[in-house]
């Protein structure tokens, strides 16, 4: 292949990446847990994708193909323990994935901290699955294509992942918060409450 042809292949790659760039970059950041690592992951995934772009047969499958490379890349990435990542995020605005609405810093980081602790209970593939489903809004059918598993398997994995995340958060349920929730959150409707 001549230099010009290689140039053309590369142009084609970047053209296919363009419409999914913003989403894919955001996904990498969420997958990695912070912006710097996410951006590294993204760049390395692009490099890997460029190297094997010649093997992609069907351009309409580009998105799933590229995301698969990202997910595999993340699997091989060295991962920091959750608390290290939380420390990194707190007080480090420029490496944050996004801005939470709240101005109270303790509240602002609580949600991300809970999320990071919960996500840290997951294996790399499960993390990708949850991030794509819960945060990136991918339908089950697309996840099935990406992971090469039937819909039912994906649903079962999502359920198992949610269970793992919940278990990871149990120690963080505050005692009084728990009681408060029992009163506020699970108030029974009048009729059924009296029926019991």
């Amino acid at each position: 292949m001549s230099k010009n042809q290689m140039q053309a292949v590369s142009e084609k790659f970047w053209k296919l990446l363009e419409p999914i760039h913003s989403k894919a970059e955001g996904f990498c950041r969420r997958l990695a847990g912070n912006r710097d690592d996410g951006d590294d992951l993204y760049q390395e995934a692009i490099l890997a994708a460029l190297a094997k772009f010649g093997t992609l047969r069907d351009e309409s499958a580009f998105k799933a193909w590229f995301y698969r490379i990202v997910v595999n890349g993340h699997k091989n990435h060295r991962r920091l323990p959750w608390w290290r990542r939380v420390i990194e995020q707190i007080g480090q605005g420029d490496n944050d994935i996004g801005d939470h609405q709240s101005h109270d810093p303790s509240e602002k980081y609580a949600a991300r901290r809970y999320l990071e602790i919960a996500l840290s209970a997951l294996k790399s593939n499960e993390r990708a699955l949850i991030v794509l489903y819960e945060l990136e809004g991918w339908p089950v059918a697309d996840l099935a294509e990406l992971f090469g598993s039937p819909d039912g398997t994906i649903k079962a994995r999502l359920s198992r992942a949610r269970q793992k995340m919940r278990k990871a958060l149990i120690p963080l349920v505050p005692q009084d918060e728990k009681n408060k929730r029992r009163e506020d959150g699970y108030e029974l409707p009048e009729s059924s409450a009296t029926a019991e």
Partner: protein, 344 residues
């Protein structure tokens, strides 16, 4: 409703309004705790969805970065990726009507492509002179307590340096700790520490089944040799492997691989040099030879060349130089050179 059913329902996010569930949660503190954790999770996810995402990096900047990374990989010292000569055995036409299928073995020599990646951060304070009553170990201890181990603290002619920090934030924390301990208010200089990592375009291209990988962490050279031989044997190759460690602590793997191909034995020597001491330096990857089969009967050289190129392209090798020559023995030889693009 029993606890098991409740836990199962809690895994499904649409069951929160289930009356039976609510009734159970009222009565069962253990499940109620699980439900609170579920709520915590749901709210964290909700907050994350509401959060304003960080601005995206413009695509042209990403592209420039990636191209710079790629250029590093293709640096001059590693120009020759592989060079090999493939023998075409023109076999006598024994079976009439049976096309002659010739096996072409493309043995790719792995020459590591070192490229640079950030492995950590260092903090330095320059020209701060003498720090009375401060011992570098004090800082190491504090950083150790913060979970940062293997930190190198050095004081050299008035310049102070803390190395081995895993992240930029760790570097900031270390700088702050140093300022607090010493009362020094000088501005810290935070720098990235980069490492040359070996990698290979071919290793990346190669699919899993065409590459064997060994994590050599904690293994002796003899153990690595055995592990490589075993994996290669599983992939159908016979190999002579030798692993040595040179004076600088770098490990070298040399191997001679062979595989029965028709009636000729193909051999190739591969030398792998591990670079750097980073987290990946114990990983050894060996790409297996890529096999391409080309029918040559009744084809012109140009057609053969085209077919070899097409098949290689299907293997992810997009820039081979293929030539067909006839040797003095009258045998056709196909030469495949895989050249890398020169960027400078």
């Amino acid at each position: 409703m029993n606890c098991r059913k409740v836990r199962r329902l809690l895994n499904d996010k649409n069951s929160i309004n289930n009356l039976d569930l609510i009734r159970h949660l009222k009565a069962c503190p253990s499940c109620a705790r699980e439900a609170s954790a579920s709520e915590l999770l749901a709210s964290a996810l909700h907050q994350e969805l509401k959060a304003q995402p960080s601005p995206e990096t413009p695509l042209n900047i990403v592209r420039a970065k990636v191209e710079a990374m790629s250029k590093q990989k293709l640096s001059r010292e590693n120009t020759i990726m592989s060079h090999l000569i493939l023998g075409f055995n023109r076999r006598p036409r024994l079976l009439a009507g049976f096309g002659l299928a010739l096996m072409v073995f493309l043995f790719v020599t792995l020459v590591p492509f070192p490229y640079t990646r950030t492995v950590g951060y260092a903090v330095s304070f320059e020209k701060i002179g003498n720090i009375g009553g401060f011992a570098p170990e004090q800082l190491s201890n504090v950083l150790g307590a913060m979970g940062y181990n293997d930190i190198k603290v050095t004081l050299n002619g008035g310049d102070f340096k803390i190395a081995g920090l895993p992240t930029r934030q760790a570097a900031r924390e270390a700088a702050l700790a140093f300022q607090k301990l010493t009362g020094i208010t000088a501005e810290p200089i935070i720098s990235q520490v980069t490492q040359r990592v070996s990698g290979s375009l071919f290793a990346q291209v190669a699919e899993k089944q065409r590459k064997i990988e060994i994590d050599a962490a904690g293994m002796s050279n003899a153990e690595i040799e055995n592990a490589i031989m075993q994996k290669l044997a599983e992939a159908g190759y016979q190999a002579k492997v030798s692993v040595t460690t040179d004076a600088s602590g770098e490990r070298r793997v040399s191997l001679e691989m062979s595989r029965q191909a028709g009636d000729s034995l193909q051999q190739e020597q591969i030398t792998i040099k591990n670079l750097g001491n980073g987290p990946d330096s114990d990983k050894i990857g060996i790409p297996l030879p890529i096999q391409v089969k080309v029918e040559t009967e009744g084809k012109t050289d140009a057609e053969i060349i085209q077919e070899v190129k097409d098949k290689l392209a299907a293997e992810g090798i997009t820039n081979p130089e293929v030539t067909v020559t006839v040797g003095p023995d009258g045998k056709k030889r196909v030469e495949v050179k895989v050249q890398k693009e020169e960027h400078r």
